[in-house]
Symmetry: C2
Subunit: 203 residues, 2 copies
Amino acid sequence: MSKQSKDTRQEIIEAARNEFLTHGFEGARLHNIADQIGVTKAMIHYYFNTKKELFEHVYRQSVQVIFEDLNDLLSKDVSLFKKIELLIENSLQKADQNPRVLAFVITEISRKSDWLQPIFEEQVELQVKAFEEELTDAAANYEIASVSVQDLLMNIFALCYYPVVAGPIHQSLFGMDSSVSGNGFSQERKGVILDTILNWLTA
Amino acid sequence: MSKQSKDTRQEIIEAARNEFLTHGFEGARLHNIADQIGVTKAMIHYYFNTKKELFEHVYRQSVQVIFEDLNDLLSKDVSLFKKIELLIENSLQKADQNPRVLAFVITEISRKSDWLQPIFEEQVELQVKAFEEELTDAAANYEIASVSVQDLLMNIFALCYYPVVAGPIHQSLFGMDSSVSGNGFSQERKGVILDTILNWLTA
DNA sequence: GTCTATATTGTGATAGAC
DNA sequence: GTCTATCACAATATAGAC
């Protein structure tokens, strides 16, 4: 490959990610993306034909960042309780390390679901069978209450992800400075969430 | 007032709400709003000088719809447990009856927080003192575990609101048709959420 | 109060030289 | 591969007639 072709493409992607995370699809400007890295808009159309195409690339990557370890975790060879703890830890870590990416993935698909759901599903195929059996077995042995995988994962994601997405609202409601992000909040939340989930399961 | 001035203004607001809920601030087109009610764009600028002004009106109303009963509920004269149940019921009802409004309020402030937080705070001033004391007292009497108002409300909102905002993601993850909205889902979720919150509090 | 016409600026995209 | 120039159109906003 000649010159720094791979480099420019990469730079465009990174600048685009920054622009899309900040302003969303319709708010983002190709002009800003080009400016950030000191090239012209023409370069963007050279590597990515359309704004839509560039956005889809960024969105795919973002979904990947948030959900890449999910299937590995679900099939890991550890006890059920340990697995749930790992699931919560991982979700909190993702939320804490990439809050803007997480908010981006959720807020964009919230409206443009017709467009983005197929792309999302291309990136994440949830393997939930084994984990579902573990839950059923544990319930049969009275180790946990009988709950569906859907409800369990919904609860975990809700408790871990909602504070990031709705952060500004709860800052306003409680007059916080910026406490809905950062490691301090995350560590404190971890205990609360573990309590909430485990007490629910072992009620 | 002459002719149907009040009517046109009202029609603009309703059409604008529809457009903003569907496409967000930057995606919305004044052209579409005017078309919906058969007037010209000029009329919008007659009643609302700018797109921003019209949006702010719609956003204010939307915040109101979701959070209007919150303070009344918090100061209601019922037992602590009843109050928490009412809080959950009300949040689920809001989410169920106005899913698009709820998603709109959250997703828009998620990015444009510098702009929208002041507007949000203008609409909602949380009166939490009394409720906080109830929690402290109940904890002192060992009726519930010691939890902060922030954590309790965060958990309730997370469990009630997250499914609406992140609906498309969980549809994709579980291959659902449209089960994340509608009264069926809401009724089923209510039991789960009550279990989750109450078992956590009385652990 | 409502419309037509237009100003003004912005924005994604393409053509073509180097 | 990168740039300059430009197209084509879209969008908010304003001026002024009726």
